[in-house]
């Protein structure tokens, strides 16, 4: 990786962190748990890297690919489970009628 690429990536990291802090500072306590499980599901974005790692030819069973496939399973549990459980929780939050 070249130094220029690294700098660009660091820019992205720093700016996204600021966006994150700005977005989340004012979350009411009622939503703390859904926020946590929802953002946890988002961290399953690693699935994108996992899919590429599991990508090589069908016949190929190199260590790299096997690790990739395990990563896909793990990340999918994180993504699917995280989103569904968050939705299940948020469905229950009701205002007084």
């Amino acid at each position: 990786m070249s130094a220029e690429t690294l700098i660009v990536l660091i820019y992205v990291l720093v700016l996204a962190t600021f966006v994150g802090f700005e977005l989340i500072t004012k979350v009411p306590p009622t939503l703390h748990t859904p926020l946590m499980s929802g953002s946890n599901a988002i961290s399953g974005i690693t699935i994108v890297g996992a899919i590429v790692a599991a990508g090589p030819d069908p016949g190929d069973f190199s260590l790299a690919k096997i690790l990739g496939l395990i990563a896909v399973i793990f990340a999918t549990i994180n993504v699917v489970g995280g989103y569904l459980v968050t939705d299940r929780m948020l469905k229950m939050f009701k205002k007084k009628k």
Partner: protein, 464 residues
């Protein structure tokens, strides 16, 4: 259009949707839509990745996705709301684990398949990704096991613990440096992996009980950072952006939790809240004399009240008493009594734990009032019902400078005209200290299982 460019644009769209999704997740009215939006963003990112020219083995990938989805969906549907902290810990763990596997896979791909040389920058990011991911992975499982009760939930400390951690950390740094210096030799990477997994275990075992909300939020933050670090390894912006968002949200929650306990993060992480206090509670002595109250009398006290504040704690979750609490609320409201819930930020084992439980029991969320907003109301309230909460209503935090929880913001339950405490026994709370509130003149103890006792109280109220 070139497929790579298309993928990049799809990632950009996904990143924007993630940001909007998180923003919407922060408001009660839009939260559910926000979560769905971020799920849609995830779908876009996944579909775009499948178009990548390096992705050829669709069958295997689909099978892996199917397995993961089935497991994830099963747990998400099955889990009881009281078990939500465990669930979050579990999902955190697999997220961290996925980051580790991706990073190590990338390492072997570079050498075994492409026969390239790993440059220093990639080496550093790879090591970071493995470390953060591994600590998240084992740390989350220890947190899970503690919450689940399969290992002791309290702080586990032993002599030389900090020294051991320091040595392991130093070894980890050395192994990391060796790995970056000589990437061809995978023994260093394996050493980094093992040391980081161990550190994940050792850093979480000394933390327990009521400090769990801090740990869970911190691990949540780590899982984001792990994803971000993997983004550096793969030169993938969408991973970095989402990782940063999750990392930031976890850090903010961690800060809120620490502030609510008036403790610094370092203090929590070093653990051993319980033992530091043990010397104090012997000196204070247990000369507290409590007054017990029966079911009928409790119902009568409620019947003659005009305002009631309910303070739930972890004990309510343990007793699964949230549904009967809602019934009690309905009974009281039928009699024209004003009912509110006072929620301490660290009540339960996870940020917002009580809110989720009460939402499950159909308590409208606008009945749940935050500490700062309700603390002045206790003085004008007739009855305060404390269910399974202890340290968060201990007046020692205000009055006794020798108490380990001194300075922690608490709910002013003791200021209510009458306080009824529903509690299994006289056992001390997590901090292991006596609660003066229980001996106060205006305090009555309703001993027994919260669910059973409150069911009887509701029955009595119905007959009145």
């Amino acid at each position: 259009m070139d497929s790579n460019l298309f993928i990049q644009i799809a990632y950009l769209v996904a990143s924007v949707l993630f940001i909007i999704g998180i923003k919407m997740l922060g408001k009660t009215a839009t939260a559910r839509k926000g979560n769905q939006l971020s799920a849609a963003a995830m779908l876009i990112a996944i579909v775009a990745t499948l178009l990548d020219f390096r992705v050829l083995s669709f069958t295997e990938i689909f099978i892996a996705i199917l397995i993961g989805s089935a497991i994830g969906a099963y747990f998400a549907q099955k889990v009881a709301m009281t078990k939500m902290p465990e669930m979050v810990a579990l999902f955190n763990g697999v997220g961290g684990g996925a980051s580790v596997f991706v990073a190590i896979s990338e390492y072997y791909r570079v050498f075994d398949i492409n026969h390239e040389v790993l440059d220093t920058t990639t080496g550093v990011t790879l090591v970071l990704s493995v470390i953060i991911g591994s600590v998240t992975f084992t740390g989350s499982y220890i947190a899970f096991a503690k919450l689940n009760g399969s290992i002791k939930g309290q702080a586990i400390t032993f002599k030389g613990q900090h020294a051991l951690n320091a040595i392991l950390f130093a070894l980890l740094l050395i192994a990391s440096a060796m790995m970056v210096n000589d990437p061809q030799n995978d023994i260093y990477l394996i050493a980094v992996l093992i040391l980081a997994l161990l550190l994940g275990v050792l850093t979480v075992i000394p933390i327990g009980g009521a400090d769990m909300p801090v740990v869970i939020s911190l691990l949540n933050s780590y899982s984001g950072m792990a994803a971000g670090a993997t983004g550096f390894v793969l030169n993938n912006q969408v991973l970095i952006i989402t990782g940063a968002l999750v990392g930031a949200s976890g850090i903010i929650l961690t800060q809120i939790m620490c502030k609510a306990m008036n403790r610094s993060l370092v203090n929590v992480l070093l653990g051993g809240f319980g033992q530091t206090s043990s010397s104090v509670d012997t000196s204070s002595g247990s000369d507290i004399v409590v007054k017990e109250v029966g079911v009928e009398e409790t119902a009568m006290i409620f019947d003659s009240a005009s305002s009631v504040i309910i303070v739930p704690g972890y004990g309510m979750a343990v007793a699964q008493a949230q549904h009967i609490v809602r019934e009690l609320m309905e009974q009281l409201e039928k009699k024209g009594i004003d009912v509110k819930f006072a929620i301490h930020p660290v009540a339960g084992r996870m940020p917002g734990h009580m809110n989720v439980l009460l939402a499950e029991a159909n308590v409208p969320y606008d009945k749940l009032v935050e500490m700062e907003h309700i603390n002045d109301e206790f003085a004008n309230c007739d009855v305060c019902l404390v269910i399974g909460a202890n340290d968060v209503v201990n007046p020692a935090a205000r009055t006794n400078p020798a108490s380990p929880i001194y300075g922690m913001p608490i709910l002013n339950a003791d200021k209510a005209r009458t306080v009824i405490v529903s509690k299994r026994s006289m056992a001390a709370g997590y901090a292991g200290i006596e609660n003066e509130l229980f001996g106060a003149d205006n305090c009555l103890m309703l001993f027994g299982d919260a669910k059973a006792k409150l069911t009887q109280v509701v029955g009595e109220l119905k007959e009145m």
